[in-house]
């Protein structure tokens, strides 16, 4: 179980570029707001650089350099071009400006869900948004497989603590909890569910950290 911040092993897989897109998104959303974890990733990126430096080298030809030069010379200005800034965040690209006005599906009591798995073509995990109405409670439940969750809006609390916006949580089947949305906003989370191998392609019901 990981709470509030991703653990070093996940950050290492992120830094190595080995995470699936939905998992990388959860980490990136957290990094955008957490300078502590950003600094951990910087260090891990340096580890990657040192690993690359210590591996064998494969010679490159001078003609390859020439073709690189002709590529950069064919660019409009011939000079380094600053990528357009500001950029829209990944979250806005995926979900637009207003999380509250998404086509939520009311599930049980205070809980609404929206499956956005189809925004990640070719990925194996299920990706789900959940919304727990302000002050609302979700029934007690446990988790199947491993769920990575990041809080996008508002906050929720369970017996282990309070999870605020941009907090990161990994829950497994050993974690039973009974979350409550705290504060005056609806609590919205993004969850990535590692699909149990046996069930690939046969999900019939929503799996999420609020309700199972």
């Amino acid at each position: 179980m990981t709470r509030h911040h991703p653990d070093s092993l996940s950050l290492m897989e992120y830094s190595a570029g080995n995470l699936s897109e939905p998992h990388a998104l959860c980490i990136k959303l957290h990094l955008d707001k957490c300078s502590h974890c950003r600094s951990r990733v910087d260090t891990l990126d340096s580890l990657g650089a040192v690993m690359m430096e210590q591996q064998p080298k494969v010679s490159v030809s001078e003609s390859m350099f020439d073709s690189i030069l002709s590529k950069i010379d064919s660019e409009p200005s011939g000079e380094p071009a600053v990528p357009a800034i500001p950029r829209v965040s990944a979250l806005q690209k995926l979900l637009g400006e207003d999380l509250n006005s998404l086509p939520w599906k009311r599930q049980l009591g205070d809980v609404s869900v929206l499956d956005i798995t189809d925004r990640f073509p070719g990925q194996k995990e299920q990706v789900v948004l959940q919304k727990l109405a302000a002050g609302g409670k979700a029934p007690a439940h446990t988790h199947r497989g491993e769920e990575t969750t990041i809080v996008l809006q508002g906050a929720f609390a369970d017996q282990k603590g309070v999870f605020n916006q941009w907090d990161f949580v990994v829950l497994t089947d050993e974690d039973e909890h009974k979350p409550v949305a705290v504060g005056c906003e609806d609590c919205i989370t993004l969850s990535v569910l590692s699909a149990p191998v046996k069930l690939t392609g046969t999900f019939t019901r929503m799996l999420n950290p609020f309700i199972r």
Partner: protein, 199 residues
Amino acid sequence: MTTLDKKPASSEGRKDPWSQMLQKVGKNQDREAYHALFEHFGPQIKYYAMANGLASHAEELVQEVFVSIWRRSCLYDWRKAAASTWIFTIARNQRIDMLRKMQRTSAEMPVETEDLWQIPGENENEPVTSLHRLMSERRIRESLSHLPEEQITVIAKVYMENKSHQMVADELDIPLGTVKSRVRLALNKLKVILQDQNV
């Protein structure tokens, strides 16, 4: 062409030589510096591509990485990342991007690689810090030489062969828990695991 053996003599100074060269590329479009970077990092990136299962696209990846280095060099800030760290993240992102494009079906990807994997020092409005960042490569290089081989093997597979901890466990035929504890031990030694007390 022979590979350059010279390494940054020391990171003790404020800037290592590669970071100085990268800065010259960014500021003055210095092609001599750019060529020196190519000679030093090109062979590393080519091996990286091959280890990652991109053998038939290795040269293409090296080219993509260097075009990207040229384009972005004006954003490079040596105070935020050493050149080798910055270049590693560009190589990683280009590798991810290449694999995504190969696997892309008719469906478009709504999110770009760069939206998911950050390049250090870009799009950050935070104050420049961190002697820590500059020191870290030297520290890592030094501590790595004291790690047991089995720990280095696991880390190398994760970074160089694009393997998850689970895949490394399967390949080495050892439990996932053993892989994780080797990584944790190594990261502890490398002081990559930062304490949570400041949070």
